[in-house]
Assembly symmetry: C2
DNA sequence: CGATAATTTGACCGAATGGTAAATTACAAC
DNA sequence: GTTGTAATTTACCATTCGGTCAAATTATCG
């Protein structure tokens, strides 16, 4: 994939490697800020520091760029959930999962917003991924959580909604960053909010899942 | 505001009332789906069932439409937080707040997505509202929560992050509806997910805020 | 009714949009 | 260095975009 205009050669040069990297970086910047329809090729070309036709030499359409970007990012994005270990200590696994998701939100906010934009606008380009790989993975991990609940290791709860809650609370700090900053005020402007959030969320979820007689 | 092209008359006719209503309804539909930049006037005119120049007779620019829409919706959107009662029973107030926010997400998903799109894309049109009225309201209610915590009525916690957590978890069901549906599968397609979510969230937050010896 | 103001429309404009064609330049292998 | 291919640019095209204008149509009111 990402085959240049003349679709004859296999990826050879380091120059292709570099340019495609540049382009996807720029595309991430622009798509994550404006969504698919709001983003323009000219803008991406501008950010990437190359002419529009040159960019279109590497990705033939806006759609192709977006798809390549989604494909590349989706895997990384699901890593924390994959790392969720059925053999680990339940509360510790939940805690780690929250922390990892929060780290993603802090370190890769654009990736988070890329997905948020896409899903928010009806996920026209990734419906299959949602109903396929994503659902499968969630189903699998939900089963783990359910087993923990059934065996009395954590409180009984709906595992799907638990996962949704962890997703939403952590991604909030990437997707709604502007709002979070506005509400906290500039005195709280530093990155401390991520530590505060981690403390709050970990304790809230762990307490929420504790079993008291 | 919303003065027609010939800015001479005060709002007189019911026809203005009706048309502006039609337009804002259509604008909500389109803006909430594509964000500001992704939305087009033609599309809105189409959904509203009138010609583009006719629409522009009532709102002179795309910006004016968007602003009018935001203004109208923002108040409603903050109602649940305003209803948060300092004199109420803490756990019951939290519970009610969650429920009301969840009802908004269920009954007004487009309004939720309108804001989500706007904030996600950097809130270029509502920065003032965020830093002004929104921050003030949150500051006020955060103080209430802090007082509850200090007087031992609920567990000690960061009130701001608690509010963020309630916002994000509830709005998730509107903003990420497609994803939620995809993950839950069509067997869970009915509106039951809102009841499940309510049960889960209320119990999670209430337990998370309980004080055990 | 008639007049006056409000509403609606079709034609249109300049700029931006996604994308193309062809020609030119850089580059790697021999 | 020659040659073939990869990379880049200039000029361009059709469509869509936000928005205007003047004319036509319709409502309102005395």
């Amino acid at each position: 994939m990402a085959i240049p205009r003349a679709a004859k050669t296999q990826r050879r040069t380091r120059i292709q490697e570099e340019k495609e990297e540049q382009i996807l970086e720029a595309a991430l910047e622009v798509f994550s800020q404006h969504g698919f329809r709001g983003a323009t090729i000219d803008q991406i070309a501008d950010v990437a520091g190359m002419s529009k036709p040159n960019l279109l030499y590497y990705f033939r359409t806006k759609d192709a760029m977006h798809r390549a970007l989604i494909d590349r990012v989706l895997d990384t994005w699901l890593d924390p959930l994959r790392a969720f270990d059925a053999n680990g200590h339940p509360h510790q696994e939940i805690r780690s999962y929250i922390r990892r998701k929060l780290e993603l939100a802090r370190d890769f906010p654009r990736e988070s917003r890329l997905f948020a934009n896409e899903v928010l606008q009806g996920a026209p380009h990734i419906e299959d991924e949602l109903k396929g790989p994503l659902k499968s993975l969630v189903d699998e991990k939900a089963e783990v959580i359910r087993a923990w609940a059934d065996s009395g290791k954590i409180a009984k709860c709906d595992p799907y909604h638990l996962i949704f809650a962890i997703w939403s609370t952590t991604q909030h700090y990437a997707d709604f960053d502007v709002q979070v900053r506005a509400v906290l005020g500039q005195d709280q402007a530093g990155e401390g909010r991520f530590e505060d959030a981690a403390r709050f969320l970990e304790s809230m979820f762990v307490k929420g899942l504790e079993i008291h007689e």
